[in-house]
Amino acid sequence: MTPYELGKISAFLLKNRKIEERSQRRAIQREERDLAEILRDAAVEEIQLLEEMMTGYGFDFVTLSAFDVKGIAPGSRVHLLVRRNNSPCLLLDSTSVIEKMAPSAGKASVAKIWFTQIWLMHLDLMYSAKDRGPHERNQWLDSGFTKEQLIEAVRVHINEFVRKLNPEIGETSEVYSTLRAEKGVEIPRYVTRFLGLMVDAGMLDEIAPNSFRQSLLSAVEVKANYDRILAPLMLDISEEHMPGNLAQTAHVLLSAVNETSTERNDS
């Protein structure tokens, strides 16, 4: 691999985050095929050099084969640039992408609120609804959902939960105020924008009209980063439910003690 080829590969990867040798889903363009061939022929030291370079940019250079994950043709490989949770990549920008959610809202916070809420609901469809743990990368082929399902999930979330909350929450929570102000027509619009942004960024694949599936890149990133990024936030939920659980446990234990003492008294 010459420095020129190294440059071409790194530029392509930074733009597309993925180089595939073969794909059943899409036609591989000549440039990508050539780069995949260069990577296949590269020596171990050259790949190490590329890995180190990408680590410097804030990525892990990951190569997967049919042995590692489903959905890769035997004998072929997929190269991915996976973001590292401990070294932010300065070359990438996610804020401006998310702001495209609500270009006319005038407030970046509105875009971010809608994006994060729909983002969590789409994760729920791909993971929670399928009883799939975040580390189950291999199940990415079965993560499909439709646009209608996502719209419905968001609608249920807003109508069945948000609207039933005490309106006083609105004084402290902008998320509540924003979602509460939804008039019934915004959900499909925001979901459509969300899906478009996710597909453009390579996080979702549109496998058929209005049918989507998690991309391999996203599955790999979720597996790599969940523990340090989202898992700590999940603790907030378990803490929220903790007092109730403890109270229930205490109640059960006290009842058992009472029953035992009653039995002793009877005897």
Partner: protein, 458 residues
């Protein structure tokens, strides 16, 4: 000797029988209908199902168990069954992707036993929400059995026997069976590896159970790898001795490549087993159950994380784009040829054919006449006609007239005089130059200060 699990064979036939007895007419809705054992006797459904399974097996092997679209399958089927309609294929696949309603009598060691319905009989898996299909685990397994009926156990535990078959085939110079054996082994190992990866990713209590089942697999793989080395040596022997082999149309290099792939696969599977062992020794609870992201969304409605935290999450897991403009490989396409050395030809320059560029002539003409022209302008103005009369259109060069017109019409590019006014008149004049006769409209250059001084003197 215990009988093999023939329910696997029943699983293959059950859905085919159901399809055979279906009363659905061709071209009707592809939605699943209840089984009634009468149906068509022309065997079309069974034929379509058999071909579907075969094609799905083929597509799955080539794509790593990716789903195949209905359109692709129909197209592939039409090569062999030209009368196939897509809606009929979809119906067939919809049936194959559901479990059978046949009852099985499970004896389970007792005499009476009990009747069960076998749920795990769908030969095909349908992608959620999309008309795309792939073989189910059962479908793959039964097809392997059908492909090689002598080999009733396709479990990875029997890999040694399979590699031995490969060695025997190579010893006898039978390359086609050898290639089939090794490809089947690779396929089998890949599926076993993928299952193991899924198991480790899933984590939890299932790990320990799986590990106890795979207790001997590490030694097994070690022995299998030794056998693969023998197979590799047999191939080298064939290459070295150049002895007669059957199936000469099968390239020996391809067989060798597949055998080495098998060796690499065994090593990877062994590594995965080590990882499984490590996971278990670390403790069972390393798995993360499916978290409720909807619950997290509800929590965030009440209390959203800080802006910095959200940015951190999105920068690692959200969508992103590259900042600015990055140079792409295509930007340089054709401009940089690092590996091509262009041979330099000796350059020959013939000065006799050298023609001076026109701008050089203009520069030289202007250098000679600039002072005169500026003086004439300062003295009350200069018209084109007067300049020709003064001989400025014939001095120094043959192109002097062109130089004069250029100089007068582009004053700002060569003179520092202020307040210049260019006046054009409609009157045409003629002049006779040595080489040509020219006709031109009136062109006069004057300086504002000289006009003022003329007025003042009046």
């Amino acid at each position: 000797m215990s009988l093999p699990d023939i329910s696997l064979v029943l699983k293959v036939s059950a859905r085919l029988v159901d399809l055979h007895d279906s009363r659905r007419n061709y071209g009707e809705s592809p939605n699943y209908q209840g089984d009634v054992r009468s149906g068509h006797g022309d065997g079309r459904y069974v034929a379509m199902a058999t071909h579907c399974l075969d094609k799905l097996h083929d597509f799955g092997r080539r794509s790593g168990d990716e789903y195949t679209s209905l359109a692709t399958l129909t197209q592939a089927l039409r090569v062999e069954l030209p009368w196939t309609q897509e809606v009929d294929v979809e119906y067939v696949l919809n049936v194959l992707s559901r479990p059978t309603e046949l009852k099985l009598l499970l004896l389970d060691g007792g005499v009476d036993g009990h009747v069960i319905t076998e749920k795990d009989t769908n030969l095909v898996e349908k992608s959620p929400n999309v008309a795309e299909f792939r073989l189910s685990w059962v479908g793959r397994r039964v097809l392997s059995m059908a492909t090689n009926l002598d080999d009733e156990y396709q479990d990875i535990a029997y890999i040694e026997g399979d590699v031995t078959k490969l060695i025997r085939a190579l010893e006898n110079g039978k390359l086609r069976p050898a290639l089939n054996f090794v490809e089947q082994l690779n396929d089998q190992l890949r599926v076993a590896h993928a299952l193991l990866v899924s198991l480790i990713e899933r984590g939890g209590r299932g790990l320990r159970e799986a590990y106890s089942e795979m207790a001997g697999h590490t030694e097994l793989m070690s022995r299998a790898n030794e056998l693969v080395k023998i197979a590799d040596a047999k191939i080298n022997e064939i290459l070295r001795t150049d002895r007669d082999i059957d199936d000469e149309d099968v390239p020996i290099g391809l067989v060798r490549e597949r055998v080495r792939e098998l060796s690499r696969g065994i090593v990877r599977y062994s590594r995965q087993l080590s990882q499984l062992s490590a996971e278990i020794s670390r403790g069972i609870s390393s798995s993360v159950d499916a978290p409720s992201f909807a619950e997290l969304a509800r929590h965030w409605v009440k209390q959203q994380p800080s802006e910095a935290r959200l940015n951190q999450i999105m920068s690692v897991m959200g969508p992103s784009e590259v900042k600015g403009i990055l140079a792409m490989g295509t930007d340089y396409e054709g401009t940089i040829r690092s590996r091509t050395v262009v041979e330099r030809l000796p350059e020959t320059v013939d000065l006799s054919e050298y023609a001076e560029p026109q701008e050089h002539e203009f520069t030289r003409w202007l250098t000679a006449n600039r002072a005169i022209i500026e003086q004439r302008i300062r003295d009350g103005g200069l018209s084109l006609e007067a300049a020709i009369a003064d001989g400025l259109a014939t001095m120094e060069t043959d192109e002097a007239f062109g130089c004069l017109v250029t100089a007068l019409s582009a004053l700002e590019s060569w003179t520092d005089l202020d307040g210049l006014i260019l006046t054009l008149t409609d009157e045409l004049s003629k002049a006779q130059l040595p080489a040509l006769e020219v006709m031109f409209s009136g062109l006069t250059i004057t300086q504002r200060s000289s006009i003022n001084s003329t007025k003042d003197s009046r």
